[in-house]
Subunit: 348 residues, 2 copies
């Protein structure tokens, strides 16, 4: 080829923009296509009293890129691969119902290894009441690749897209942030120690909570249920896979609004805080940029403040503003910093 | 691990049986799970006048296993990867509506290469009126992996599973068989010639039809439409990806019936026949075991004979029998041979 552009020079988002450019949805059942956490389809129940939507999402996980089998046991990998997809379904405010699993696997893996991987997949299906309805298992020249597609359902009026935030709407997050990232740091440290001295016993005790957040995350189906109970339909929602900062900016950009997050409101777990200190990392930075928390980040009108304010599941961490250039982290000391997809830069 | 069983020793079908063993569908919307060409979901339109089903199918394609980029141009690969999935939708007697695409790609590929691949994907979507509604693009340590999930719709009473053949039902196939396989032989020969003498021009002229069947197959959505027009709902259906023999045995096994195929009824194209002779291959064997034809193979009651008998789209090639051990190819010379998943053994 005459002109060769490297994918890394263009970047993932630009590449996706390029290959999905100009797509026009032709099927009447295709309501939302590429660009959100999941696609939205009309279930065809238009004539029914309570129209329902079907959401569909696909994720691809490659060995050596998304996971490292030195420290991720195959069973955990199977579990996590499912959960990551279910989390995308939850981000649409929908309930996961089915998955399909595509597996490409080299002859490095035994039948027992595949069974181990599937035991994790089945466990996740069991845990979430989701059906494994199909898939494809094939040999690959090297490594392991998992492609999971998840489907879910929601009442038509409950579906939440990324876009929808208005000025002065509240930004709310479930659970606690940064723990999955700190779990990864602990694992990386032990992998390093093990490489230096293969006989050494891993020092993982005391970090169980963080390790579990990294190796066996959960999808917040309980949050979707709780929101329905509270009769709160978020105006927009996304799940936190890349980190709080990056996802908040997605919500702001989709709505062409600004966003302000208050450092002292970001929910952090004590163990994660301590461990960050132990690793000489800034806990706030871990929470903002760590990723893989799979918590739900959503937008509600100020009128919902009362419903969510003292709810143990939720933290109101910021709000949207009218200025799309406004991407601010309000620091504990009252100063301000610019919120960036990867961390933040102090401006004060 | 103490016990290590190699996947190749167990075989693909056994492995799938192992990992899908004991799956129980829990969601009320999951109607058919693992084991057919696609899963079948209730669209949720139960209360509507004409209930509709949604079918879902996933395929995984790995470089070096399912395709060889030495002779499959990326655009054709993208096209074919979509078509193969749409063919599975057609095998359920459903009309394809949406796809998602998971792509794992190494840095060996440029942005231009990815665009080339997607131009084929978009072309197939365009050709079949199918929407690309989502996906995931990610880097992989080596090679190219494509995971496509296709969705389709059909009236509830039109869905065709693999199981359903009764004694004395007819076996019918669309189009012509063996051409895709012969196209592959031509490409393999040229690849070999090219390796021996890199300067040589490929000798591909005159084989266009066979090459197109191999590189740019089509999904028989027109057959699904025609069957609806004829008001023929097959009792069972499958698409021919592995070869006529293998797929016929699948239909027979699913129904616990026997099957007899008449050699002189198998539809073969003249060019494929000639080329098989040129390669010293048995044309019947190519048609039986070649695979990748993506024609539809289906079962109808004898009462449908009139509707299909002289239809240019279809060939009635055999029938089912009550004896599950009966797997017979009735030869041109009146002799009989045992039908095997890979070809057939002469018994007379």
């Amino acid at each position: 080829m005459d002109d060769r552009t490297e994918i890394k020079d263009l970047g993932e988002f630009e590449l996706i923009a390029k290959i999905t450019e100009g797509i026009k949805l032709k099927q009447t059942t295709s309501l939302v296509g590429v660009g959100d956490d999941a696609a939205v389809l009309d279930s065809g129940s238009a004539s029914a009293e309570a129209p329902e939507r079907i959401v569909v999402t696909t994720d691809m996980l490659c060995e050596g890129v998304h996971f490292d089998l030195t420290y991720a046991p195959l069973k955990h990998l199977g579990y996590k691969a499912v959960v990551v997809n279910l989390s995308d379904v939850c981000a649409m405010n929908a309930t996961p119902t089915q998955i399909t699993v595509g597996l490409g696997i080299s002859n490095r893996f035994s039948v027992e290894a595949v069974e181990e991987l599937y035991s994790g997949i089945h466990l996740a299906c069991e845990r979430y009441g989701v059906d494994l309805i199909g898939g494809d298992t094939t040999s690959s020249p090297s490594g392991l690749t998992l492609a999971i597609t998840a489907l879910g359902r929601a009442p038509a009026d409950s579906i939440t897209l990324r876009q929808g935030a208005d000025e002065s709407d509240l930004l709310v997050v479930s659970g606690e942030l940064g723990s999955a990232y700190m779990g990864l740091q602990v694992l990386e440290r032990e992998k390093h120690v093990f490489k230096e001295a293969p006989g050494a016993q891993p020092e993982l005790t005391g970090y169980d909570e963080l390790l579990e957040r990294q190796l066996k995350p959960e999808a917040r189906v309980d949050v979707v249920k709780e929101l329905a109970q509270l009769q709160v339909i978020p105006k927009a929602m996304i799940d936190i896979s890349d980190g709080l900062a990056s996802e908040s900016l997605h919500l702001a950009a989709a709505a062409k609004k600004g966003v302000r997050i208050y450092e002292d409101k970001i929910p952090m777990n004590e163990k994660m805080y301590e461990t960050a200190r132990e690793f000489n990392l800034d806990p706030t930075l871990c929470a903002l940029s760590g990723g893989e928390d799979y918590e739900l980040l959503f937008v509600v009108a100020q009128s919902q403040f009362e419903s969510l304010q003292n709810h143990p599941m939720f933290s109101i961490i910021g709000h949207f503003t009218g200025d799309p250039e406004d991407r601010t982290l309000v620091l504990r000391n009252g100063g301000e910093a610019e919120l960036k997809a990867q961390g933040w830069d102090s401006v004060a």
